[in-house]
């Protein structure tokens, strides 16, 4: 019960193919952890607790992409059991780095990694959760920003829309007063097409953005491709830049395929 006598919303943290990092962000919110734990009823969070309850849940927080038959069924079940379902991180929102398999023959890839490929059951592609079930909100990032996660949880508890900007990293970069690594140093930077959320970390560390938060709301991919070519990048290298943690997000996917064709 909350102090006002209302029942606390039950929450489930569910994992699919991922590195665990996004749900770890919750445990990494050391200063806010007790406040968060105190305002929800943690019904299912295996990374943190051995007490696990079957649904239904008020809120499901889903990490990871769908890569196996079993998981394709499991996500349906999670959706059925959850009033609200939000996805966190690049794997859940775009398929993650493992979506690089989507351009390859997965049987061949399995053979590279495993000695007896016949025992491995995996789908040909790694896909975001939203390709399987309706998703109420997608929180981007590889990893997610823990302040944004707290904002998302707060908004869910208050029943309002989370305040998560969808503009580009460039806006954050300017706000921080960073010198533009692309214009001044000629470094290839994905900032113009990447959604804000990291705080423009890479330019502040003398490197170009590599797209952890996926495409911003209206990315001009053609223009950035042209800029990368001007900076001397080969089309193969440009294609690789677009194919990282959010490779399967359609804007990045399409731009990378266009580079491959030329």
């Amino acid at each position: 019960m909350n102090s006002d006598g209302k029942k606390k919303p039950s929450i489930a943290v569910v994992k699919f193919a991922s590195c665990d990092g996004c749900q770890l962000s919750l445990l990494d919110a050391e200063d806010e952890l007790f406040a968060v734990i105190g305002s929800v009823d943690i019904a299912y969070f295996p990374e943190g607790s051995r007490a696990m309850r079957n649904g239904p849940y008020d809120i499901a927080v889903v990490e990871g992409s769908i890569t196996t038959h079993h998981d394709a069924e499991r996500i349906q079940q999670v959706r059925r059991l959850s009033r609200t379902l939000v996805t966190i991180g690049a794997c859940a929102t775009s398929g993650g780095i493992q979506a690089l398999r989507n351009w390859k023959d997965v049987t061949e890839l399995v053979r590279v990694v495993y000695a007896s490929p016949q025992f491995i059951s995996t789908l040909k592609s790694s896909t975001p959760v939203a390709e399987h079930v309706p998703v109420d909100f997608e929180l981007r990032g590889c990893p997610i920003n823990k302040q944004q996660l707290l904002e998302l949880i707060t908004a869910l508890l208050a029943g309002r829309k989370p305040n998560i900007p969808t503009y580009s990293v460039c806006i954050e970069c300017k706000r921080q007063g960073n010198v533009c690594v692309s214009v001044v140093k000629g470094t290839s930077c994905m900032g113009p097409v990447t959604q804000a959320g990291c705080g423009a970390l890479c330019p502040a560390y003398n490197r170009g953005c590599f797209g952890c938060f996926g495409p911003m709301e209206s990315p001009n991919m053609a223009s950035l491709t042209k800029q990368f070519r001007t900076l001397g990048q080969t089309d193969a290298a440009i294609s690789r830049s677009f194919r990282s943690f959010s490779a399967w997000a359609w804007q990045f996917r399409k731009a990378s395929e266009e580079c491959e064709r030329t």
Binding site: K15, C19, G21, D28, M52, N206, R240
Partner: protein
């Protein structure tokens, strides 16, 4: 109960990183079958690295594990530097030690306080534990936060930091930038010493095992990024020889690939192995804490790994402070070298044990082949061996208590299943 069949079953193993399950079949007091099953889906990293540029490997492999991304970055950069013949600046070497200290502190504090201590004190989780022991959990969280603050200071953020580069860092801090850590680290050393005292007072089952311990060793230092790979049974090799001595074995009954020492069998990596093989390289404050906890090598009870992890917390905090005090910035943040064809191997000590990377590079710097052996896949056979022996000890217990204890036996290894998945099968079938 004797003669009756019962099954210890855990469908979703909790307080570990990744997804695993456990099934032990008992016939009376005899253990008939042990399954430590991994259902974490494979993500095929080694295959996906083919055709990527060598500079991308640190950031891509970091995504194998959100708990120990620095370990992946460190093994990747060292393997690449070896392939390219790059010699790093001594100041960069020191900073990498600090970076690794941050990850060890964060990871060990998380495991000791949030994931493992609740088993010893009889709570489902650290949140429930906090109701009775708020100050203990808060101490753990503060330690963890200090580890994270080191990582954030050097790498921009705690998970998948962005500063590690082949040849050094993209940006290195000024001497004064590190000074802000000093006060916290002094507190953290004391807090870690009290952590050792706290966890040494837990009850440990009587369970000694005959392990082959495998860890890096360095002439002067407790190991992170450098050294020879040694074992308690006489192995002493360079990282380049790793694949001559360690093989993945296809175990018929378990359908899992297990890493073994060629010609011998399972082995143990991680805190217990490092402590037993490098005890005299620990700083005085860490050794003192160990002595006071009556902990001297060889420690062969895996349940005591929580105490060893706490001693390593003392080490990591003390080492971090040493680096902060001694550090002078390098002339350049990183050394760059032209791409060339070559092969490079590296082993570094992740919080959970040795992490092996090998890359073959083409002349243009693209990766031709990659091999990654994470610590949990190396410990996996050992975990099953432990369970086989330990389950017999708890066979006569009430099922729920026996189940919990067996879970605890797995958590002794702080297994990171997300990491290990490359090498584990999706399905384990019997008969």
């Amino acid at each position: 109960m004797s003669g009756r069949t019962k099954t210890i079953r855990v469908d979703t193993l909790a307080r570990v990183e990744g997804e695993g399950a456990l099934q032990i079949k008992l016939l009376g007091d005899r253990v008939a079958d042990v399954k430590f099953r991994i259902f974490e889906p494979p993500r095929l990293f080694e295959a996906l690295l083919k055709g990527r540029h060598y500079t991308e490997a640190p950031d891509i492999t970091a995504r194998i594990c959100g708990i120990c991304p620095i370990a992946y970055q460190m093994s990747a950069v060292h393997a690449m530097e070896r392939a390219l013949g790059i010699r790093i600046d001594p100041a960069v070497r020191l900073l990498r030690r600090l970076f690794y200290c941050g990850e060890w502190i964060e990871s060990h504090a998380l495991h000791v306080y949030m994931l493992h201590a609740p088993d010893f004190l009889g709570y489902q989780d650290a949140f429930e534990m906090a109701r009775d022991h708020r100050e203990i959990v808060e101490q753990g969280l503060r330690l963890k936060k200090i580890g994270n603050s080191i990582v954030t200071l050097l790498g921009g953020r705690e998970i998948h930091p962005i500063s590690a580069a082949v040849g050094g860092f993209f940006k290195t801090p000024a001497k004064n930038d590190l000074r802000v850590l000093e006060e916290d680290l002094r507190w953290a050393i004391d807090a870690s010493v009290s952590t050792v005292k706290l966890v040494a007072g837990f009850d440990f089952p009587d369970f000694e095992q005959d392990y082959e311990f495998v860890a890096l060793t360095h002439p002067e230092e407790y190991p992170f990024n450098e050294g020879r790979l040694v074992s308690s049974r006489g192995l002493n090799i360079d990282a380049a020889e790793y694949e001559d001595h360690f093989v993945e074995q296809h175990v018929k009954h378990s359908n899992a690939l297990h890493s073994i020492v060629r010609g011998r069998g399972s082995y143990l990596v991680g805190p217990l192995a490092r402590f037993n093989l490098n005890f005299d390289r620990l700083p005085v404050v860490a050794r003192q804490a160990a002595y006071e906890a009556h902990l001297t090598p060889p420690v062969t009870n895996p349940f005591r790994s929580i105490v060893v992890r706490a001693v390593e917390l003392v080490f990591a905090c003390a080492e971090a402070l040493r680096v902060v005090e001694e550090y002078e910035p390098p002339a350049q943040p990183r050394v760059q070298a032209a791409a060339r064809s070559g092969v490079g191997q590296a082993i570094t000590e992740a919080p959970r044990g040795i992490l092996y990377h090998r890359y073959a590079l083409a002349e243009n710097g693209l990766i031709l082949a990659a091999k990654i052996v994470p610590p949990t896949s190396q410990n996996q056979k050992r975990i099953e061996d432990d369970l086989r022996d330990f389950a017999a000890q708890v066979a006569s217990w009430p099922l729920d208590e026996a189940t919990w204890k067996c879970e605890q036996a797995i958590r002794n290894y702080d297994p990171c299943i997300s990491c290990a998945t490359h090498f584990l099968r999706l399905k384990v079938e019997r008969e």
